[in-house]
């Protein structure tokens, strides 16, 4: 049994078209199991990914490939209250989360 979301990677191509990601510090809100997070890391971004569901965050951490470990951090958290400094991120991505 398996579910594959966006096998054609159209999201990735749309993200590529809207801007430069390499080296950028990104906050991803609603990362779920990290599907989009990995795609952002593939584009070269450094991603802090949050989700209110601790189970999903655990699953995302467990599935994090070693090659992206330095570029991705997963945390439990909600977009309604961000414990981060003002002006800390180059981009904020609401991943199917707004």
């Amino acid at each position: 049994m398996a579910i594959t979301v966006d096998p054609q990677e159209r999201e990735l191509r749309a993200l590529e078209r809207v801007g430069r990601w390499r080296g950028r510090r990104i906050l991803e809100i609603g990362c779920g199991d990290g599907r989009l997070t990995l795609r952002l890391a593939r584009l070269g971004a450094r991603v802090l990914a949050i989700d209110p569901d601790a189970g999903q965050v655990r699953a995302a951490r467990a599935a994090l490939p070693r090659r992206y470990a330095a570029r991705i951090q997963y945390r439990v958290g909600s977009g309604e209250r961000l414990p981060y400094h003002a002006r800390e991120f180059d981009a904020v991505v609401f991943a199917w989360a707004l």
């Binding site: 096998p7 749309a14 993200l15 809207v18 400094h85 002006r87 981009a91 904020v92 609401f94 707004l98």
Partner: protein, 136 residues
């Protein structure tokens, strides 16, 4: 939602980008097969209230002068499922957030279609990517 957008504005550097990526407020089309061999079996019946509320929240922060509207794109995203169990699990997960009906009729119709033709179950729906540029 407006509060989350205001929080995003706060943590963004000047001229930073907010990317709003989410399904368009449309019911998803469920079918069998991939690519050109895909055949429609049924259309979901979902609550689109949250989608419309998110649209209103975006309009509110634009009117408040927090962001300006940037690039916008719309494209089709597919969710491929190997087995009926995957589809039922997905329906159950969505049901907690946006599905209105139980979709038993759709499960029955899919079972009949699968009996006639072995194929993956594929849900299709348009997704919107909208870039908002931080002002101020």
């Amino acid at each position: 939602m407006v509060h989350a957008l205001r929080e995003a504005h706060r943590v963004l550097r000047p001229d930073g980008a907010l990317i709003d990526l989410r399904p368009e407020p449309e019911h998803r089309r469920i079918g069998l097969g991939e690519g050109r061999s895909w055949r429609l079996v049924g259309v979901t019946r979902e609550s689109l209230d949250m989608d419309h509320a998110a649209d209103r929240a975006v309009v509110q922060v634009l009117r408040a002068g927090l962001f300006s509207r940037g690039t916008r794109a719309r494209f089709l995203v597919e969710r491929e499922m190997d087995a009926m169990e995957d589809f039922v699990a997905w329906l159950t997960d969505c049901g907690q957030r946006r599905m209105l009906a139980t979709h038993r009729w759709l499960i029955r119709r899919l079972r009949r279609a699968l009996a006639a033709r072995a194929a993956r179950i594929v849900a299709r729906g348009p997704v919107r990517l909208q870039l908002l540029r931080k002002l101020g």
